[in-house]
């Protein structure tokens, strides 16, 4: 007798918000997995047309409240390329510093409040705080430091105001950054402790032969710059992104899914991809910690993304401390430019992975075309594929346990859609 | 009441006090006193009435009939107030019902007499000025009532 099961998760976007999941099972075999992202479309690429290029950092920040800096960074780098300008060298570390703030803020949120509860059977970080107050308090305080850095350098933590095409609106005063040093030194220690806590979690045994994609830079852990690196050994200029990767639309999602153009194959971006490709570029303490924690590379267990995130938090504190200590405001805050027609693209490493922006501007500096490929839409197809591989292991379980297990797997990617950050409603429909 | 007393009284009542002596004399000549017991109806809304009144003693309530709500009290009047001024207009149809709230005395003046007297420009001017002032006061009081002044009144309290 045919047994038809449809597991439906009611609510995920191109960018961030609410998504759902549908699983179709026939005769004990998975016939379909749809990560359904129906976050209302907000049509940013269309809205950007006709806008002054200077507005792009502020507008694209609004794609995501959790990783606005990533959007601002990809936007300004792409637009600076289109304008043919280079920011003064002293500003590079400041942009990395801002990005460190966001990594800390975003990663610690996911690690402590959103993902860790899964390892303790808790509904939320707030509930976990009752049994593990020190760990959660430590996480909140780490996150607060990330937010403080964003506030000092960016004006505020969510949708910072200080990022400008060509640099910054105002450079921080030396005292403003120096005031953070002691707290960041303590934060670094706390971040190491947090990583040790996380590494001790029990991880389900599930590995996949991922095609990891991330930026790679010979001299630094990738944030704002680098070449595109894939697991099959390609090292490409970011300008080739659109030749190598393509977005396809599927009927069950308002988000577009990205695949390798040549093979149609899925790929994975994010902390695991970065760590696997760029372990050598980690700051010394972070790298030593990765060794100490026995984090194997390549690491192909998606559940261990949480450890990769925790190690990246340590890296972000370590790198931030170095920049905070060395900072001297001895540059103009930004490069002046005259608008000119051009096109430019850039990718930076959002907390959740590679974020690609490309723009065309006219000679008045108005945007005529914008393309934005966020990390979650790149991971979406890969997540569906993982679920297809994972489901056979658990199909014997009751429906609600299957749903929960799927949710946990989805959450481990830290997809930038609010529901999947902690909840996927799975609807089982027995046919 | 004899005419001298009436004259004195008219000179003391608020509505008529400011009229010139000659005008007061004309009024005194035609005014009569009417008395109403407490609760007595002086006139009814919609009825015609040919006498204008000035309250000399007591209190009078004005009510209007509102379908579905019955009689609603609009205003109360007291000594010195003008009453039934609609008598001067058109058919003298009353716009409210007047009831004596306590034992009440009015000076009643036939509207026709006033109309005749008003042909004398001196009397007419003095009379109309007085009447306009009284009606303006009445209108102002009505507006203040409309404002529902005391709805949220509080002495010094603010927060």
């Amino acid at each position: 007798m045919d047994e038809l099961r449809t597991i439906r998760v009611a609510a995920i976007t191109r960018v961030e918000g609410e998504g759902g999941l549908s699983i179709h099972v026939r005769d004990g075999a998975v016939t379909g997995v749809e990560l359904r992202i129906f976050e209302p479309p907000r049509l940013f690429e269309a809205l950007l047309r006709g806008k002054a290029l200077e507005q792009a950092p502020d507008i694209t920040a609004r794609i995501c409240g959790i990783c606005p800096v990533a959007y601002q960074m990809s936007a300004v780098h792409a637009l600076e390329q289109a304008l043919g300008i280079t920011i003064p060298p002293p500003l590079r570390p400041l942009r990395r510093l801002l990005y460190c703030g966001e990594w800390i803020e975003s990663h610690t949120l996911h690690v402590h409040l959103l993902h860790a509860p899964d390892f303790f059977g808790c509904a939320s970080g707030l509930e976990l705080a009752k049994s593990h107050p020190e760990a959660i308090q430590r996480g909140l305080q780490l996150r607060k430091l990330g937010n403080r850095l964003l506030e000092v350098l960016g004006g505020r933590a969510i949708h910072p105001v200080n990022v400008a095409v060509g640099g910054f609106y105002r450079l921080p005063r030396r005292t403003e950054l120096a005031a953070l040093v002691d707290d960041f030194a303590r934060g670094l220690e706390a971040a190491e402790a947090a990583a040790r806590w996380v590494a001790a979690f029990e991880f389900p045994d599930f590995e996949q032969p991922y095609d990891f994609v991330s930026l790679w830079h010979p001299d630094e852990y990738p944030l704002c710059a680098g070449s595109l690196r894939t697991s099959d050994g390609l090292l490409l200029d970011v300008a080739e992104f659109e030749q190598q990767f393509t977005e396809r639309q599927v009927p069950h999602s308002t988000a577009l899914q990205a695949v390798r153009r040549a093979t149609g194959g899925t790929y994975l971006v994010g902390p695991l991809a970065r760590l696997n490709h760029c372990r050598d570029q980690l700051a010394p303490l972070a790298r030593a910690l990765a060794d100490e924690l026995g984090l194997a590379t390549p690491c192909c267990n998606p559940y261990q993304g949480i450890v990769a995130r925790a190690v990246e938090v340590v890296h972000a504190f370590e790198e931030a401390l170095g920049i905070l200590r060395a900072y001297r405001p001895d540059s103009e805050p930004r490069v002046r430019y005259e608008p000119r027609a051009g096109r430019g693209c850039a990718a930076t490493e959002a907390p959740r992975g590679l974020l690609y922006h490309s723009y065309e501007i006219d000679n008045e500096g108005l945007i005529t075309r914008a393309t934005i490929v966020p990390p979650t839409s790149q991971n979406q197809a890969r997540i569906e594929e993982d679920l297809r591989h994972y489901l056979p292991q658990i199909l014997a379980l009751p429906d609600d346990e299957v749903a929960l297990a799927c949710e946990r797997l989805v959450r481990s990617y830290d997809p930038c859609i609010s529901c999947s950050t902690h909840f996927l409603k799975v609807n089982w429909v027995r046919q | 009441m004899d005419r001298t007393d009436l004259l004195q009284e008219l000179a003391a009542l608020r509505f008529t006090a400011s009229l010139p002596a000659a005008a007061l004399e004309r009024l005194a000549a035609v005014a009569t006193v009417a008395r109403y017991a407490a609760g007595a109806r002086i006139f009814r809304e919609g009825s015609t009435n040919d006498r204008l009144m000035i309250i000399r003693r007591g209190r009078v309530a004005l009510d209007m009939c509102v379908p579905g709500r019955g009689e609603v009290r609009i205003l109360s009047l007291a000594a010195g107030d003008l009453l039934a001024w609609s008598a001067l207009l058109g058919a003298g149809r009353m716009t409210a019902t007047a009831t004596a709230l306590e034992e009440t005395e009015v000076l009643a003046i036939p509207a026709a007499e006033i109309a005749t007297a008003c042909r004398d420009p001196d009397f007419g001017y003095a009379w109309m000025q007085r009447l306009a002032a009284a009606l303006a006061e009445r209108l102002l009081a009505t507006r203040l009532q409309l404002l529902d002044l005391f709805a949220d009144a509080e002495p010094v309290a603010r927060d």
Partner: protein, 267 residues
């Protein structure tokens, strides 16, 4: 209000930044969770309970047919409905579509627009249901959110000033960027609440908090024009922003007969 009031957080079209503000109350978060029973907050907890709710925080604007039904249910379930942020309060950045051809917008983004269910407009929550309190900002200020929650807990009206950003600039000692640097700034007509961040970073206010009480937009736009500002830099910015759909700004852009803010290049 109940001993431990039930708090729900809902999301419509938005970036999540405003509800994130609640989680960003690092020092107060656990206390908030003690004082309020968080029974629906998809971003933070797997606990999902149906209404009624004492307080519903609503983020995001209404952009899909499904949203229309959902917000009415939220209203029915909520004793106090508080909108958080510019999307929920004024339609958000996505309201720029309201001037454009939304079908064309969809075609610009999606290869197969027929897969997408979307309304032609992005509208604030108050255009659909009664709202008890509107918290401004893109994003909201977390301490203002705390004040709103505290006020509701205490049974009083939240105390949030409706004055211009200028006052906050001066309180923090920031020099006026308009006067000293000739930088266009929407501060004089923008609702306070952010703490006057932008001018302290040497840039003009770009209006995240929407219009202040009784904004004199006509005088400001005249002043921006007199200073030789081009529409690209200034006047259009008023509307092509997160609160462009706010009534006062719509009225002023209509008065100036500005071209539509979004849509085809070169408007």
């Amino acid at each position: 209000m109940a001993a431990c009031p039930r708090l729900a957080v809902f999301k419509f079209a938005s970036c999540d930044g405003c509800q994130l503000s609640l989680l960003s109350l690092e020092d107060e978060l656990l206390t908030v969770a003690d004082r309020l029973d968080i029974v629906y907050f998809l971003e933070a907890t797997s606990r999902v309970e149906p209404g009624p709710y004492d307080i519903a925080l609503v983020e995001g604007s209404i952009t899909t047919p499904d949203d229309l039904a959902r917000i009415e249910q939220v209203r029915r379930d909520a004793k106090y409905l508080v909108t958080i942020g510019a999307c929920a309060t004024a339609g958000g950045i996505q309201a720029l579509r309201n001037w454009g051809d939304s079908a064309e917008f969809l075609r610009a983004v999606y290869a197969t627009p027929s897969y997408i269910e979307s309304l032609a407009t992005s509208t604030p929550i108050s255009a659909h249901v009664r709202v008890d309190f509107e918290l401004r900002g893109c994003p909201i200020d977390k301490y203002q959110l705390l004040e709103v929650l505290q006020a509701l807990l205490a049974g009083r009206r939240p105390r949030l000033p409706a004055h211009s950003v200028c006052l906050d600039c001066k309180r923090r000692g920031t020099v006026c960027v308009v006067v000293a640097q000739g930088v266009p700034c929407l501060g004089p007509v923008t609702h306070a609440g952010c703490g006057a961040i932008c001018p302290s970073y040497d840039r003009g206010c770009y209006g995240c908090y929407g219009p202040c009480a009784q904004p004199n937009l006509a005088s400001l736009t005249a002043q921006l024009g007199a200073n030789g500002a081009t529409p690209r830099e200034t006047i259009v910015q008023l509307r092509s922003s997160f609160n462009g759909y706010a009534a006062e700004i719509r009225a002023e852009s209509d008065r100036l007969e500005l071209p539509p803010p979004g849509g085809a290049p070169h408007g």
